[in-house]
Each structure stands twice: as C-alpha cells, then as structure tokens.
C-alpha cells in the first residue's frame, strides 16, 4: 500500500471526529484528535487493521499541555505493518486525564500504567490507576518524568 493512499483512507475514516491527519514520509501518519474522541478514533483505526500499540509516549510541555502519543501498527496485516500510525491527543496541563484505550487495544495495559506512574496522567477506566508500577510503593511527590522534577546534573550546561 502507498503512503498517500493510506493517509487518504485514514483521513476519510476519522474526518468526522475533528481529526487532523498529517504525515511524515515515508511511513509515519499522525492523527490528532480531541480527547473526547480518542476512543472512537482508536476503534476506527483498530478496525482498519492497526491491531496493537507499540509505544505510549506522554510528553510534558510545562504549563501548557500534555501530549499523549499512541504509536500503533499492525501485526495481522503485513502490508500495514510498514506504517506507524501515531494517535495523538492533547490534555490540559491542570487536568491531565483521558479515557483509557485498554478496551480497544489490550496491549496498552502496562504502557498506560507506566505513563500514569511516571508522568502522572490519569487514564480513566484503566483498572490500575493509583497503583505504582516502576516506582517504589511509598514514593511521594511529583511524577519524575515531568519537567518540574529536576535531577542533579554535572558541570554548568550538561
């Protein structure tokens, strides 16, 4: 399948959700949706054959927003496997919650949990919210991956 062709196909599928579709040659397609529509968009992508999530990345832009990126691709359809579809959504900085995509993609179980643990994003509907995954049980304070959490550095500009 061709890049442009697939991009057009995805655009058609998710247009009514208010999604912005863009692409980066040769194989990355970006789909940006508002957080209310993210489950619906994920379902449509899954039905197209993007059956698993490779990575869930949460990015912190201090005092502005959080961005959550689901990098999905296909195992069952090897034509699609070449492409990565990034499903993105923005969350407001003071209210970082979004619906969990666990129902759509079971493969996000640990990845969402990790972003919850380290970045403090709440995935509503995920059964393990509030539990620790990688950090010690008694960890308190700001989630370590946020920019306001500072680690020691060496030198002046390292």
């Amino acid at each position: 399948m061709k890049f442009e062709e697939l991009k057009g196909l995805i655009e058609e599928k998710v247009r009514d959700l208010g999604a912005e579709v863009s692409g980066k040659e040769p194989n990355v397609i970006e789909v940006k949706v508002p957080r209310e529509k993210v489950v619906e968009a994920a379902m449509r992508l899954r039905d197209m054959g993007f059956d698993h999530v490779k990575a869930v990345t949460a990015v912190d832009y201090p005092n502005e927003r959080f961005e959550v990126v689901y990098v999905s691709s296909s195992y069952s359809n090897l034509d699609l496997a070449y492409f990565l579809v990034n499903l993105r959504t923005d969350l407001p900085y003071d209210d970082p919650r979004m619906p969990s995509l666990l129902e759509v993609w079971p493969s996000v179980l640990y990845q969402e949990h990790e972003e919850h643990d380290l970045m403090g994003i709440v995935f509503e509907g995920h059964p393990r919210m509030g539990e620790r995954l990688l950090l010690p049980e008694n960890y308190e304070g700001i989630p370590p991956l946020r920019k306001e959490f500072k680690v020691k550095t060496e030198g002046i500009n390292a």
Binding site: H52, K54, V59, A81, Y110, R132, L135, T153
Partner: protein
C-alpha cells in the same frame, strides 16, 4: 471452602533461584495458579529521565545498559532515531558493519536467553553449554569493537571502527564451530524427553492473543505471526541480504525456544553474506569525516578507528520527532525521540521488547501449575533491567 478461603498468595522473588530481579505475586489454589501479577520496577533506573539531561552522544552508553546482553539493538535504534532527525545516512560499509554486529549480538543474546531458561527448568548443562558457546561470539564482538558487551559501536553517521585484519577467517571459524555444535544441543537438550515434557504444551499463546497483546520478538513469531522488522521496515544492510523470517505454529514454551534456535541458524547465514558482500569505502558519513582535523584524519585512515574531535560531543539535533524500530535479539525495540533543537532530547521514549512482554506473565500463567511458572518465565527470554529501564 469457597475459593476465596482456599486461595493463597505466594510471593516469588525478588531473590529467587530463577535469577531475575522481579517479583511474581501469585494467587494459588492448591497447585494451580489463579492469578499472577508481575511486580516489576526492581531495576528501574530512570533512563528516560536521565536522557533529558545528557547530551546526544552521552546517551549511547546510557541506552545500552538496560539490556546488557543485547546492547546493539538499543544502540542501533537510538542512533537510527537520531539520524532520522539529523537527516544523515551512514555510508554502505557502515551499514554492513552494523548488520554484522547486530547479528553477532543476536546469536549471543539468544544463547544467553536459552542458558537462563536452562537454569530455570533445572538443566544446568544447558546453562553451561550456552554460556560457554556464547564466549566465542563475545570474543568476536570484542575484537571488532573493543568491549565484551557494551559496544557503543554505532554512532550517528556510521560506526567507530573498521574490520580488524583477518576478522573474516575468525568469523568463519566460529560459524563453523557453531554449526557443528548445534546438533549436540538437539541431542542433549531439545530432544531430551524431560525438556520436552516440561516445555511442550506449556504456556500456549494463541495467534490472536499474541497480536492483541502486542507481544514482540521471538515470542510473537512462535505464535505464527511472521512479523520481523528486518523484513517489514528493512534497515541497515538487511534489504540486500537474503534470509527468512522464522516462525513456529505451536505457540508454547518449546516453540519459543525453537524460534531462537532457528534464528541462530539464520543469523549464521546472514553473517556469512555480510562478509561476502561488504563493500569498500568509508565508515563514517562524509559530513562528519570532514569535521575531524586533517592530522587525525590520516591516523583514522591508517588504523580504521574513528577518533572524534571534541566538538562532536556537542552534537545538536534539529527540532522534530522521530520514531525508529529495530529487531533486536529479544524483539522489537522502539525509540521515540522528541527534540527541541537543544543538546539533549526533550523527551526520549524507549520501549523495549521485555517491557512489551511483561503482559504475558499475567496472560500465560492463568490456570497453570506452580511448577510451570519457571518454564514459562524462562521461555519468554525476559530481562528485567530491560523492562524496567
């Protein structure tokens, strides 16, 4: 008695004979596991956070550490992601050298996994053999790169060293040794009735579940999904090489081990092709070659070892985002780098195959006997530091 009353919670680890730095919390009813929850994070060292305060070149050793037995995969993925942002391509010879090291690493990583699996199911002979046969490959890698495990061989724009003299012969010797050795493994281990009884039909992962759970690497291919990044999105020199994607249909612990064994045989094939086809030429992108001062450059040309000038450490990467994936020994490694044009990444997401396979501990152990837990654990080739990062 009701099930709740009969249920017993057993904590396995983090200090347990199966040599792993994780805890398994199992709810058991008699001898049968009702539910098992991996409790990970015992080796969490915050690689993603530390990457945000280190320079791009300093991150290369950092990302290698989490999966010490399979460092090339992480190294290569990270560098590929950075190269995508920089918009540079390594020269063909460097691509072949990368492939060469990646395959050597794949073989010894598979031996590592099989050896640990041997310990877990109580076959110390398998451990001794696998770890012993891993050594010649480590020696090869050491000759090529200078280190036993932590190579840091792949740098943006190319590789650090050229082939040493007489390397081809040594590789050929090792490959022949391995080929002669493989039948012994079958005699002693894989066709051993005890091994078969412990592995066959244990921890069966169906094709649908493997896809649904997003499993990676040999564990995925053992369930009959022919997904291999080397074929799907070829990188380095793989487009020019001829090899097959190894799959098995059964999806049980034995199939997972068999995929590794057969991948070793494929890797031997690939290594031979690489050494036959490797083109002559530079091993570092021209743009960076020019940055090396002339007197050093002469030395580089004579010895085949790249010496970087100090300015290279302050490599700046243009703003943007890049995702790279590579098929490592344990499976698909993903790096997602968000750069803001500074000297360190703004956000670096590193998803390792072991982390994606943690989910299998929950899934595969439901309803198995307690004694099968190590057999399943071992067959996943799970490396806790890699999962926890």
């Amino acid at each position: 008695m009701s099930l709740e009353e009969r249920e017993l919670e057993v904590l396995i680890g983090p200090q347990h004979p199966a040599s792993g730095h994780m805890r398994l919390v199992a709810k058991i009813d008699g001898d049968v596991v009702v539910e098992l929850r991996p409790n990970i994070g015992y080796v969490h060292r915050s690689v993603e956070k530390l990457a945000e305060v280190k320079k791009y070149l300093q991150i290369i050793p950092l990302v290698e550490r989490p999966s010490l037995a399979d460092t090339t995969a992480n190294n290569l993925t990270y560098v590929m992601a950075v190269e995508k942002l920089l918009g540079i391509e390594p020269p063909p010879r460097a691509q072949y050298l990368r492939t060469l090291l990646a395959e050597i690493n794949r073989i010894h990583s598979h031996f590592y996994g099989m050896g640990i699996h041997g310990v877990m199911i109580g076959s110390s002979t398998a451990y001794m053999w696998c770890f012993g046969d891993r050594e010649p490959l480590i020696e090869l890698a050491q000759e090529l790169t200078g280190a036993r495990l932590t190579y840091s061989y792949i740098v943006p724009g190319g590789v650090r060293r050229d082939l040493p003299q007489g390397f081809e012969d040594k590789v050929e010797k090792v490959m022949r040794y391995l080929e002669n050795r493989m039948p012994d493994y079958f005699d002693l281990y894989f066709n051993n009735p005890v091994t078969r009884a412990r592995l066959e039909g244990v921890g069966v992962l169906s094709r649908e579940d493997a896809i649904r759970l997003g499993v990676a690497g040999p564990n995925l291919r053992a369930s009959g999904v022919p997904y291999d990044v080397r074929k799907v999105e070829p990188y380095a020199a793989y487009p020019e090489l001829d090899f097959e994607v190894v799959t098995e249909e059964a999806g049980d612990a034995f199939a997972r081990v068999m995929v590794r064994v057969r991948e070793i045989q494929e890797s031997i094939k690939i290594i031979r092709q690489v050494l036959k086809k490797i083109p002559d030429g530079p091993i570092l992108n021209e743009k960076y070659m020019k940055m090396i001062p002339p007197n050093l450059r002469k030395q580089v040309e004579e010895t085949g070892r790249i010496k970087f000038p100090g300015v290279f450490a302050n490599l700046r990467v243009p703003a943007g985002e890049a995702i790279a994936r590579v098929e490592g020994g344990r499976g698909e490694v993903i790096f997602h780098i968000v750069s803001d044009g500074k000297m360190s990444p703004y956000r670096m997401r590193m998803v390792t195959p072991s982390f994606r396979n943690v989910i299998l501990f929950e899934h595969l152990t439901r309803g198995v006997r307690v004694a099968d837990i190590p057999a399943i654990y071992g067959s996943l080739d799970y490396f806790p530091p890699e999962a926890d990062r």
